[in-house]
Symmetry: C2
Subunit: 609 residues, 2 copies
Amino acid sequence: MFRTHTCGDLRIQDVNNKVTLSGWVQTIRKFGSITFVDLRDRYGITQLLFSESLNEKLEANPLGREFVLQVTGTVNERSNKNNNIPTGEIELLVNEFSILNKSMTPPFTIQDDTDGGDDLRMKYRFLDLRRNAVKKNLELRYAVGRSTRNYLHEQNFMDIETPFLIKSTPEGARDFVVPSRMNPGQFYALPQSPQTFKQLLMVSGYDRYYQIVKCFRDEDLRADRQPEFTQIDCEMAFVEQEDILNMFENLIKRIFKDVKNIDYSEAVNRMTWENAMWTYGNDKPDIRFDMKLCNLKFPSHTFPNQTDISSLINGVDFKVFDEAETVVAIAAPGCCEYTRKQTDELTEWVKRPQIGMKGMVFIKCNLDGTFKSSVDKFYSEEKLKAIAEATHAKAGDLVLILAGSEERTRKATSELRLYLGQQLGLRKADEFKLLWVLDFPLFEYAEEDNRWVARHHPFTSPKPSDIATMINNNPAIENAAEYLKHPYANIKANAYDMVLNGNEIGGGSIRIFQKELQQKMFAALGMDEHEQQHKFGFLLGAFEYGAPPHGGIAFGFDRLCSILGGSESIRDFIAFPKNNSGRDVMIDAPSSIDDKQFNELQIKLDLKA
Amino acid sequence: MFRTHTCGDLRIQDVNNKVTLSGWVQTIRKFGSITFVDLRDRYGITQLLFSESLNEKLEANPLGREFVLQVTGTVNERSNKNNNIPTGEIELLVNEFSILNKSMTPPFTIQDDTDGGDDLRMKYRFLDLRRNAVKKNLELRYAVGRSTRNYLHEQNFMDIETPFLIKSTPEGARDFVVPSRMNPGQFYALPQSPQTFKQLLMVSGYDRYYQIVKCFRDEDLRADRQPEFTQIDCEMAFVEQEDILNMFENLIKRIFKDVKNIDYSEAVNRMTWENAMWTYGNDKPDIRFDMKLCNLKFPSHTFPNQTDISSLINGVDFKVFDEAETVVAIAAPGCCEYTRKQTDELTEWVKRPQIGMKGMVFIKCNLDGTFKSSVDKFYSEEKLKAIAEATHAKAGDLVLILAGSEERTRKATSELRLYLGQQLGLRKADEFKLLWVLDFPLFEYAEEDNRWVARHHPFTSPKPSDIATMINNNPAIENAAEYLKHPYANIKANAYDMVLNGNEIGGGSIRIFQKELQQKMFAALGMDEHEQQHKFGFLLGAFEYGAPPHGGIAFGFDRLCSILGGSESIRDFIAFPKNNSGRDVMIDAPSSIDDKQFNELQIKLDLKA
């Protein structure tokens, strides 16, 4: 037997017991003739005391950091107790030891604050995983998975495995493909999600399905994207949107409770997509803090239901505002005394290419009730006051105004809001705020092809009130410049995203379950009947045999874990992640394959110069 | 809301309640002016009663089999109760109904005994999955998974996800490969198992790991093999073989309890590989019944520890036995009165090409104590009696004797034993017998390459007592004909298989954790240093930084479920299986991909004529 206890087990009650431990040497400290060793395993650290009698053996078998050691001895009460660790009241007086395996000196220290850089840590990921900081992340991930499974089990969901070797039907992202040796010239695809299979399971009557499942997308990797990632994938039959929202906000609340011991008892906020864009400039707003957008000018076709207050800025012949499609203001609380240097820095920040604005207008709402602006020569103090009031600025705040084309300006204001929220300490790491964003547009316009694309995916249903609009209109866009006037532009989807602290953690929809509507959707996306049949014939076929109303959701498991763990990086929550080129630098994959494999698969390379 | 209850919920206590159900039309029966409909969902069947008042609406909206129906009505006590179903005491008197979706007539009936053949059921798998027989299988699969997760969680195991896009290191089976667009000319491989990753996790200190995980092997598919399959994959550090056997026989016992309500309290049998081959002719014996093999003649180098009783058959100049390498007998209980026709049929059975024997010798052990044989002219009744006694035959039994080359004869006897066990009703469907098979040979001889191959895999350790033999000998085989005299032929592995009712349900080993021994193993398998470094450099590297002793096991999840479900076919326990050509006939995959995909991946077809 290699051990009677783990390195996290022993307590003061165990004093005088004879025990055996196995683990890794964390530290070695010599004091004269005695040697202290901290022995580490997954469960903790126990201090070992090698007395003088073992010196000869220690000299013959010198220990080193990360050596694997087995020790037998007697539990002792420590004279110098360590209250920081659960085993800190005891130590093990070693009688016998044996080195189970040696270790070279690790290329970085196995500590929370390691001296290893990212590249080194990824190459030696098996050592990086020994660090407590990484272990805590994987433990959290396991806890989130376990909580999810328990909740969904209690709610009568069944875990049903869907296949990994499926058919390539690229819509949006690229598929990874797998050549089939037994079917030469043909390829499987790895699933981007189990979407169509979970819908088939609904047709089959398994009315509550889930899976925690790997998905694959061959996309150019931005920071913090992985070619393989994990989803909590769920689907329900005989449900409406309200059923789904209730079921899955309770899942997340359960995870909060099980994993973070947080009672999230308040109702989850809900917001339409239009209101999210209007109020936060963003379809995944961080609602931990206020600083809402004040729309001083906007394109009315994008926000048909909103109030026009452009009279506040019009009529003074200020060209920057007059010529802009969109003018948006936000109030930064308590910032009215920013120095010229500080406001210049903010201006530079919005002028960076990633943000892309030309400049920024400021209004200082002084504590004495006066207003001072960079555009004083256009706006009277009275007008400045009116604008500031529209932003809900209070005395002491600083109003920031951006102007330009709609999409860029709105995005820039949203980014500025998040940046200032961070700077001002308004995005608290230990606060969690959930939000449902609802009523997304069903379609987006794809300029390059002058056609519609599905904003969510081709299986999302329109709102019931929009079905007739969809069925009775020709999806073709005759005048590209006026695509917004096409009836399809206003169709809303039965879709919902769950947002946590400004991150989309999940999204889903009520699905189309009628063959004719699904065909109309495929046609709207530019798929002719032949292509529909080739790619999705099985689904259209299934809809002919009694498909029930159904809908579902998928959560990004890696992302959810990283937010709960308080980290920006999903990579810290994946045991063996890939880098931004899709490489696993530890095992050195992908790599070449041999001629026999090419021959058997009947493919060859066709490398471009 | 689509329903207030499921079709399995309602009981006599619900009488007079107003409820709403949704489900599928199972049957429609008209009696004069009233109509009975059985409405089905995942949870059960509820009888609906449409009274005369609904006839007009029913005529305008005729129902059909598998239509999706929503009904609201009042729960009624039935006059004609059905004790076969939990809802059989009530029916629903329908007030309102609406057809949620229509259905074409299904190509086969949605019943336990369906009229659909295998091909049709696979093409319309989404309808096949509606059948209760298939649903029960998937429910059992979910229950086995859940039981596994609960047990392993209680035992401190952590579910840690390992990557799917890894490196091609084919050893034995072929890898499925995935071209990397971002790394042109390079390929990922899909994992045949997470073997090396779980070993790295042990090096990282996660001493109890598990995963229920998809694995991939591109093999020519025999019946009941799938290119993608699921494993319960486990690994532990600081353990010896005994720890693993205890941990995982208790897992299977827990599954028996949770899923089948079977208390498997007896100790799990254990048998060495040599004894399994000697006694059952097979390394995965079905020990639900006896009929052990009696070895009348055998090659001594294969069974060095066994007793030679060939004197029983020698010295009578019976050429068939004299010239055979191996002579094996078994006693078929109670079969002494088999007719000539029956013994001829058995002889034909062993002469089939799949079995490949030339004939069979019979000894009838008559109830009156006399013996009668097809080889009376060679063997006296006394000799026949001695042979029969060696097989432990009793009066009334029939002794069957096969002779020929060792491998074929032993396999044939094993097959014959299983066949007779089936015929005689000795392999009871509701009886479950577990067995550990231990002490496998570490190496097998690969004739085509005149070298050793790993019987289990290259990471399995030799028995501690055999390590010196392995380290101190040159693995090269100088004389192919005498490979059995090479010291490597006798090295035993620290490996174990778990066998259930004659099926291998799991297997594993204590692993090599010392770099030098691992290198010796790779060298023995014919890998030079360059190849070792290219394929497994990361593992050899990890072993330099404090690798602990470790070992593990993997269970075939599909197979385990099928045996627990009493089926021969794993396909019945997989939601969306592939056929013997690796095709999913429902979605029609694999399939062609388009030119854009070839271009982006920088590969092209190279089809052989």
